[in-house]
């Protein structure tokens, strides 16, 4: 019995090592100087250039135009993550409310039209989507960055599922208590959904923050670059340089993963709930 458990622990520790070690190494290495890394390879020890490297990455103006700083990119990522998550929640709660709690003629049709969006991810319609954005003059705007990503049904399905699980008697009691559609939504349904909202916010924030393809297409103006989108630019600048700025690249990678990772770790319970219940 004990030997089996020991073996289980060994497997798990190996798994943890595989998952965690690369990030630890990346972080440690980012505190060394580029030349040092170039000479000695990746490092597992603490270097003395943490403050220097991260300060430089966050505040130095770079890119082709020399306008963009790491801090600015973090700010843009934040706007995308929060804007996307908030937009998703508002839109999908309203739509799910209409679908679940109202009887109306086009309800079923709308439901299927929303449902269909699950069939085709953004990646398969990037070129025409870009064309549409061009026609609407939304490239290089926050609206263009956020709103098209909202055109999918994941959140709507999540809230539809949740609303359906709310006991019907609650609505009946509320109606007898004199609550109309608005009152019921604000007084009962929204407060009841608090945990759900938190869970979906976390999932959607991570999803929004981590967007890459769409920001790559939508933003050519570096002022609108998100951190994740900026990464390739960083790599491109390297090509041909003698000693690539490994330390800065690692520092940016760490910065790019920090907010979503922290959120997932801190709100782990909600995150798992949101993930396992929304993707069904």
């Amino acid at each position: 019995m004990n030997r089996i458990r020991l073996f289980d622990h060994l497997v798990l520790m190996f798994g943890v090592f595989i998952m965690v070690a690369p990030v630890v190494v990346a972080f440690m290495t980012s505190t060394h100087e580029a030349a040092d890394i170039h000479r000695n390879g990746l490092s597992l020890t603490w270097g003395d250039h943490f403050a220097e490297t991260y300060d430089k990455v966050l505040t130095r103006k770079g890119g082709f135009t020399g306008e963009i700083t790491g801090a600015r990119m973090i700010w843009n990522s934040m706007i995308l993550g929060v804007g996307f998550a908030a937009g998703k929640i508002v839109l999908s709660m309203l739509a799910a409310y209409a679908i679940v709690y109202f009887r109306f003629r086009l309800g079923t049709l709308f439901f299927w039209m929303i449902f269909t969006t699950l069939l085709l991810p953004l990646e398969v319609r990037i070129v025409p989507s870009y064309e549409v954005m061009n026609k609407l003059a939304l490239t290089n705007t926050y609206t263009g960055l956020i709103v098209p990503l909202l055109a999918s049904a994941t959140g709507t399905f999540f809230f539809r599922q949740f609303f359906k699980s709310v006991p019907e008697e609650l609505l009946e009691a509320a109606r007898i208590d004199g609550a109309g559609p608005f009152k019921f939504f604000i007084d009962v349904l929204v407060p009841l959904s608090r945990t759900m909202i938190a869970a979906i916010f976390i999932i959607m924030f991570v999803y929004g923050w981590n967007q890459y393809l769409w920001p790559t297409l939508m933003t050519t103006d570096e002022r609108f670059f998100t951190l994740v989108r900026g990464i390739k630019q960083i790599l491109l600048v390297w090509v041909g340089s003698n000693i690539p700025d490994y330390n800065e690249a690692f520092a940016l990678a760490i910065l790019a993963m920090l907010p979503p990772v922290m959120i997932v770790l801190i709100f782990q319970r909600w995150f798992i709930k949101g993930l396992t219940e929304s993707d069904k």
Partner: protein, 369 residues
């Protein structure tokens, strides 16, 4: 406070399924009416039509003389207590009680006074700041009732409010509901599938089956004079024994026995005979009577339920546990305690057994089985 009228009310669903058909009930002001029946008999649907939670397909519902068919539930001046309580889980007990009043723009002082009064009546004062999930089942039930009381409506509607409670609590809450209703004197309609609850609470019972009314009446009337075999088997525990018999003149052939009724029954030939378990007695001398083959015995303490066969038909007798059971028993019953039902329609056949008197059944002779 108001009377409620239910006139020719039907519920027909889109698929053509009829859940309630042409029901008529007149409920007097302050009366406690219990709708009882097995699941799917339409009792909840009927209640929900009175509440306005279901549309009324046909007929008319009036509350206090006002037709309410097209009036929103909130404006019907009713309050409802739900089976799963339907408390707002994110609100405190106080907020739960006050929510309906707030939506009606009741002045704040008035809300406070009414909530305080209801809380006192229901002994909820210590819990006013708690959320429902921190309450026990019985306390939640009381909050649900409090929510109805604070509104001071013309009618209370109860939809199986006790079925989520354990047996002991159910008995005490039953008493509490009855006491409260007497005190506030509000017209009430109460839905349940539990015949015992129905018997103990009701001023009048409405027994429903398949969307139709089987019988309306005071509990004891319904118990003693069930209108149909359905009511006979539904009301009372254990259920009334229903066996096939044959009437010849003033004699009833029951299995191998022949019973002299002492008076003519207004029917002849095959008939369904109803015998309450507690009306059956052990026939003293072991001779004559209904020969009863005992299968098994359920001991209930005060009495025992003896299951067995008369001829080829099963029968239950409630007998005193003081008297020892013989190997083969024979039973007797006062003819006036017999119920007759038409075999085809299941309707009660009224007859007067007065002439027969409360004498133990005389078995004239044994018929060859």
């Amino acid at each position: 406070m108001a009377s409620i009228g239910i006139r020719d009310v039907s519920k027909i669903y889109n698929g053509g399924v009829t859940a309630v058909s042409a029901v008529n009930i007149d409920i007097a002001d302050g009366e406690f009416i219990v709708l009882v029946g097995p699941s799917g008999c339409g009792k909840s649907t009927l209640l929900r039509m009175v509440a306005g939670l279901e549309t009324i397909s046909q007929g008319e519902v009036t509350i206090g003389g006002r037709t309410v068919n097209d009036i929103d539930p909130a404006d019907r001046d009713i309050a409802m207590v739900f089976q799963n309580y339907a408390l707002y889980p994110h609100m405190t007990v106080y907020e739960n009680l006050a929510y309906g009043l707030k939506n009606r723009r009741t002045p704040k002082a008035e809300i406070e006074a009414r909530v305080a009064e209801a809380a006192r009546m229901l002994e909820l004062q210590p819990y006013l700041e708690r959320k429902p999930r921190a309450l026990s089942g019985g306390q939640r039930q009381r909050v649900a009732m409090g929510r109805a009381i604070v509104r001071k409506p013309s009618a209370f509607l109860f939809d199986e409010p006790l079925s989520n409670l354990d047996a002991k609590l159910r008995v005490s809450m039953r008493g509490e509901i009855k006491r409260l209703q007497r005190r506030v004197g509000t017209t009430s309609i109460y839905v349940t599938h539990d015949q015992l609850e129905a018997m103990t609470l009701a001023d009048r019972l409405v027994v429903l089956s398949g969307g139709r009314i089987e019988q309306i009446g005071r509990p004891l009337d319904v118990y003693h004079r069930p209108a149909t075999t359905f009511v006979a088997s539904f009301i009372g525990s254990p259920a009334m024994n229903l066996v096939n018999g044959e009437v010849h003149g003033s004699k009833l052939a029951l299995g191998p026995a022949l019973i002299d009724l002492g008076a003519a029954v207004p029917t002849q030939g095959a008939v369904t005979v109803g015998l309450r378990a507690e009306d059956l007695r052990l026939h003293d001398d072991g001779q004559g009577g209904l020969p009863f083959r005992i299968d098994y015995v359920e001991e209930l303490g005060a009495q025992r339920l003896v299951h067995g066969m008369v001829g080829d038909q099963p029968l239950v007798a409630a007998l005193s546990s003081e008297i020892p059971l013989p190997e083969t028993a024979s039973l007797s019953i006062a003819p006036s305690r017999l119920h007759f039902f038409d075999t085809a329609s299941g309707r009660r056949i009224d007859w007067s057994a007065e002439a027969a008197g409360p004498v133990a059944a005389a078995v004239v002779s044994e018929v060859v089985a």
